[in-house]
Amino acid sequence: EPEVTQTPSHQVTQMGQEVILRCVPISNHLYFYWYRQILGQKVEFLVSFYNNEISEKSEIFDDQFSVERPDGSNFTLKIRSTKLEDSAMYFCASSEVAVATEQYFGPGTRLTVT
Protein backbone atom coordinates (compact mmCIF):
# COMPACT_ATOMS: atom_id res chain seq x y z
CA GLU A 1 0.00 0.00 0.00
CA PRO A 2 1.42 3.45 -0.87
CA GLU A 3 2.59 5.51 2.07
CA VAL A 4 4.05 8.87 2.94
CA THR A 5 7.70 8.71 3.97
CA GLN A 6 9.76 11.22 5.92
CA THR A 7 13.47 11.69 6.53
CA PRO A 8 15.24 11.89 8.85
CA SER A 9 13.34 10.21 11.64
CA HIS A 10 15.21 12.29 14.21
CA GLN A 11 17.14 15.52 13.73
CA VAL A 12 19.14 17.26 16.42
CA THR A 13 20.29 20.79 15.72
CA GLN A 14 21.65 23.77 17.56
CA MET A 15 19.63 26.90 18.05
CA GLY A 16 20.05 29.28 15.13
CA GLN A 17 20.86 26.57 12.61
CA GLU A 18 18.86 25.84 9.49
CA VAL A 19 17.12 22.50 9.10
CA ILE A 20 15.36 20.87 6.19
CA LEU A 21 12.82 18.16 6.80
CA ARG A 22 11.99 15.95 3.87
CA CYS A 23 8.86 14.16 2.83
CA VAL A 24 7.88 11.98 -0.08
CA PRO A 25 4.10 12.12 -0.47
CA ILE A 26 2.05 9.41 -2.12
CA SER A 27 2.76 9.62 -5.82
CA ASN A 28 -0.67 10.50 -7.21
CA HIS A 29 -1.52 12.97 -4.46
CA LEU A 30 -1.56 16.65 -5.26
CA TYR A 31 -2.14 18.34 -1.90
CA PHE A 32 0.59 18.36 0.72
CA TYR A 33 0.67 19.45 4.33
CA TRP A 34 2.94 19.96 7.27
CA TYR A 35 1.71 19.60 10.83
CA ARG A 36 3.56 19.99 14.10
CA GLN A 37 3.12 18.31 17.45
CA ILE A 38 4.97 19.67 20.44
CA LEU A 39 5.49 16.93 22.99
CA GLY A 40 2.33 16.27 24.95
CA GLN A 41 0.25 18.72 22.96
CA LYS A 42 -2.16 18.46 20.08
CA VAL A 43 -1.26 18.31 16.45
CA GLU A 44 -1.27 21.73 14.81
CA PHE A 45 -1.52 22.66 11.17
CA LEU A 46 1.39 24.57 9.68
CA VAL A 47 0.90 24.84 5.94
CA SER A 48 -0.77 23.31 2.91
CA PHE A 49 0.67 23.29 -0.59
CA TYR A 50 -0.86 22.76 -4.01
CA ASN A 51 0.25 23.42 -7.55
CA ASN A 52 3.65 24.65 -6.40
CA GLU A 53 2.35 27.28 -4.06
CA ILE A 54 1.11 27.65 -0.53
CA SER A 55 -2.67 27.22 -0.28
CA GLU A 56 -3.05 28.04 3.36
CA LYS A 57 -0.83 28.64 6.36
CA SER A 58 -1.32 29.05 10.08
CA GLU A 59 -0.03 31.73 12.42
CA ILE A 60 2.76 29.38 13.41
CA PHE A 61 4.14 29.39 9.86
CA ASP A 62 6.06 32.65 10.04
CA ASP A 63 8.96 33.94 7.95
CA GLN A 64 11.33 31.41 9.50
CA PHE A 65 9.47 28.61 7.71
CA SER A 66 9.34 27.80 4.04
CA VAL A 67 8.17 24.88 1.94
CA GLU A 68 9.25 23.65 -1.43
CA ARG A 69 8.62 20.89 -3.89
CA PRO A 70 12.04 20.80 -5.53
CA ASP A 71 11.26 17.88 -7.83
CA GLY A 72 8.40 15.58 -8.70
CA SER A 73 8.57 13.56 -5.53
CA ASN A 74 9.96 15.48 -2.55
CA PHE A 75 8.22 18.04 -0.37
CA THR A 76 10.41 19.90 2.10
CA LEU A 77 9.97 22.08 5.14
CA LYS A 78 12.81 24.46 5.94
CA ILE A 79 13.30 26.27 9.20
CA ARG A 80 15.86 29.01 8.65
CA SER A 81 17.00 29.78 12.16
CA THR A 82 15.75 27.24 14.65
CA LYS A 83 14.58 28.17 18.12
CA LEU A 84 14.22 26.00 21.19
CA GLU A 85 10.45 26.16 20.82
CA ASP A 86 10.68 24.58 17.37
CA SER A 87 11.44 21.27 19.06
CA ALA A 88 8.54 19.06 18.07
CA MET A 89 7.42 16.18 15.93
CA TYR A 90 6.79 17.30 12.37
CA PHE A 91 4.34 15.34 10.28
CA CYS A 92 3.93 15.49 6.55
CA ALA A 93 0.61 14.50 5.00
CA SER A 94 -0.83 14.27 1.52
CA SER A 95 -4.23 13.90 -0.07
CA GLU A 96 -5.78 13.33 -3.45
CA VAL A 97 -7.87 16.04 -4.98
CA ALA A 98 -10.46 13.85 -6.57
CA VAL A 99 -11.20 11.81 -3.47
CA ALA A 100 -11.08 14.57 -0.94
CA THR A 101 -11.81 12.61 2.18
CA GLU A 102 -8.55 11.52 3.73
CA GLN A 103 -5.12 12.87 4.50
CA TYR A 104 -2.37 10.27 4.82
CA PHE A 105 0.33 10.95 7.37
CA GLY A 106 3.99 10.10 7.35
CA PRO A 107 5.79 8.69 10.39
CA GLY A 108 7.10 12.09 11.43
CA THR A 109 10.47 13.70 12.06
CA ARG A 110 11.40 14.43 15.63
CA LEU A 111 13.25 17.74 15.70
CA THR A 112 15.28 18.55 18.80
CA VAL A 113 16.75 22.02 19.07
CA THR A 114 19.45 22.41 21.72
Binding site: Y31, Y33, Y35, Q41, K42, V43, E44, F45, S48, Y50, S55, E56, S58, M89, F91, A93, S95, E96, V97, V99, A100, T101, E102, Q103, Y104, F105, G106, P107, G108, R110
Partner: protein, 114 residues
Amino acid sequence: AQTVTQSQPEMSVQEAETVTLSCTYDTSENNYYLFWYKQPPSRQMILVIRQEAYKQQNATENRFSVNFQKAAKSFSLKISDSQLGDTAMYFCASYLSGNTPLVFGKGTRLSVIA
Protein backbone atom coordinates in the same frame (compact mmCIF):
# COMPACT_ATOMS: atom_id res chain seq x y z
CA ALA B 1 -13.57 28.47 12.55
CA GLN B 2 -13.65 24.81 13.42
CA THR B 3 -12.82 23.58 16.89
CA VAL B 4 -12.54 20.06 18.25
CA THR B 5 -12.70 19.23 21.94
CA GLN B 6 -11.73 16.03 23.68
CA SER B 7 -12.56 16.26 27.36
CA GLN B 8 -10.91 13.03 28.51
CA PRO B 9 -7.12 13.39 28.72
CA GLU B 10 -6.66 9.79 29.85
CA MET B 11 -8.71 6.64 29.98
CA SER B 12 -8.08 3.01 30.77
CA VAL B 13 -9.97 -0.15 29.98
CA GLN B 14 -9.58 -3.81 30.74
CA GLU B 15 -8.67 -6.07 27.90
CA ALA B 16 -11.78 -7.42 26.09
CA GLU B 17 -13.98 -4.68 27.53
CA THR B 18 -15.60 -1.80 25.67
CA VAL B 19 -14.57 1.83 25.97
CA THR B 20 -15.99 5.05 24.55
CA LEU B 21 -13.92 8.13 23.82
CA SER B 22 -15.73 11.45 23.61
CA CYS B 23 -15.35 14.23 21.11
CA THR B 24 -17.33 17.36 20.44
CA TYR B 25 -16.77 19.86 17.68
CA ASP B 26 -18.01 23.16 16.47
CA THR B 27 -18.42 24.32 12.91
CA SER B 28 -20.73 26.60 11.01
CA GLU B 29 -20.51 24.46 7.91
CA ASN B 30 -23.03 21.83 6.93
CA ASN B 31 -20.64 19.59 5.04
CA TYR B 32 -17.54 18.33 6.76
CA TYR B 33 -15.70 15.18 7.68
CA LEU B 34 -14.82 13.74 11.07
CA PHE B 35 -12.00 11.37 11.89
CA TRP B 36 -10.46 9.39 14.67
CA TYR B 37 -6.72 8.92 14.42
CA LYS B 38 -4.66 6.54 16.53
CA GLN B 39 -1.10 7.41 17.49
CA PRO B 40 0.68 4.45 19.10
CA PRO B 41 3.93 4.88 21.00
CA SER B 42 5.76 4.51 17.66
CA ARG B 43 4.13 7.88 16.90
CA GLN B 44 2.88 7.43 13.34
CA MET B 45 -0.73 8.52 13.09
CA ILE B 46 -3.08 6.00 11.63
CA LEU B 47 -6.60 6.66 10.50
CA VAL B 48 -9.03 4.54 12.53
CA ILE B 49 -12.39 5.62 11.19
CA ARG B 50 -14.04 8.49 9.35
CA GLN B 51 -17.53 9.87 9.08
CA GLU B 52 -19.03 12.10 6.44
CA ALA B 53 -21.36 14.61 8.03
CA TYR B 54 -23.99 14.17 5.33
CA LYS B 55 -24.33 10.48 6.17
CA GLN B 56 -26.72 9.66 8.97
CA GLN B 57 -25.49 6.12 9.38
CA ASN B 58 -22.72 5.72 11.95
CA ALA B 59 -19.45 4.48 10.53
CA THR B 60 -18.07 1.16 11.69
CA GLU B 61 -14.72 -0.48 11.10
CA ASN B 62 -14.39 -3.91 12.68
CA ARG B 63 -14.15 -3.32 16.46
CA PHE B 64 -14.35 0.46 16.05
CA SER B 65 -17.59 2.36 15.66
CA VAL B 66 -18.74 5.91 16.11
CA ASN B 67 -21.79 7.55 17.56
CA PHE B 68 -22.31 10.61 15.40
CA GLN B 69 -24.86 13.07 16.70
CA LYS B 70 -24.89 15.92 14.22
CA ALA B 71 -27.33 18.15 16.06
CA ALA B 72 -25.33 17.83 19.27
CA LYS B 73 -22.03 18.08 17.35
CA SER B 74 -20.79 14.98 19.07
CA PHE B 75 -18.61 12.26 17.59
CA SER B 76 -17.63 9.54 20.05
CA LEU B 77 -15.52 6.47 19.32
CA LYS B 78 -16.43 3.09 20.71
CA ILE B 79 -13.81 0.37 20.86
CA SER B 80 -15.23 -3.08 21.46
CA ASP B 81 -13.27 -6.09 22.69
CA SER B 82 -10.29 -3.87 23.57
CA GLN B 83 -6.88 -5.30 22.82
CA LEU B 84 -3.47 -4.45 24.24
CA GLY B 85 -2.52 -3.10 20.82
CA ASP B 86 -5.21 -0.48 21.14
CA THR B 87 -3.07 1.33 23.71
CA ALA B 88 -2.35 4.68 22.08
CA MET B 89 -3.20 8.33 21.91
CA TYR B 90 -6.47 8.89 20.08
CA PHE B 91 -7.15 12.13 18.28
CA CYS B 92 -10.47 13.34 17.05
CA ALA B 93 -10.19 15.60 14.01
CA SER B 94 -12.29 17.32 11.43
CA TYR B 95 -11.98 19.13 8.14
CA LEU B 96 -14.23 20.66 5.55
CA SER B 97 -12.71 18.77 2.61
CA GLY B 98 -9.62 16.80 1.75
CA ASN B 99 -7.67 19.87 0.78
CA THR B 100 -8.30 21.91 3.90
CA PRO B 101 -6.37 21.62 7.15
CA LEU B 102 -7.28 19.02 9.69
CA VAL B 103 -8.23 20.47 13.04
CA PHE B 104 -7.32 18.18 15.92
CA GLY B 105 -8.49 17.79 19.47
CA LYS B 106 -5.96 17.50 22.28
CA GLY B 107 -6.20 13.74 22.32
CA THR B 108 -7.15 11.02 24.77
CA ARG B 109 -4.50 8.64 26.02
CA LEU B 110 -6.01 5.18 26.18
CA SER B 111 -4.38 2.39 28.14
CA VAL B 112 -5.61 -1.17 27.73
CA ILE B 113 -4.84 -3.21 30.82
CA ALA B 114 -4.32 -6.96 30.75
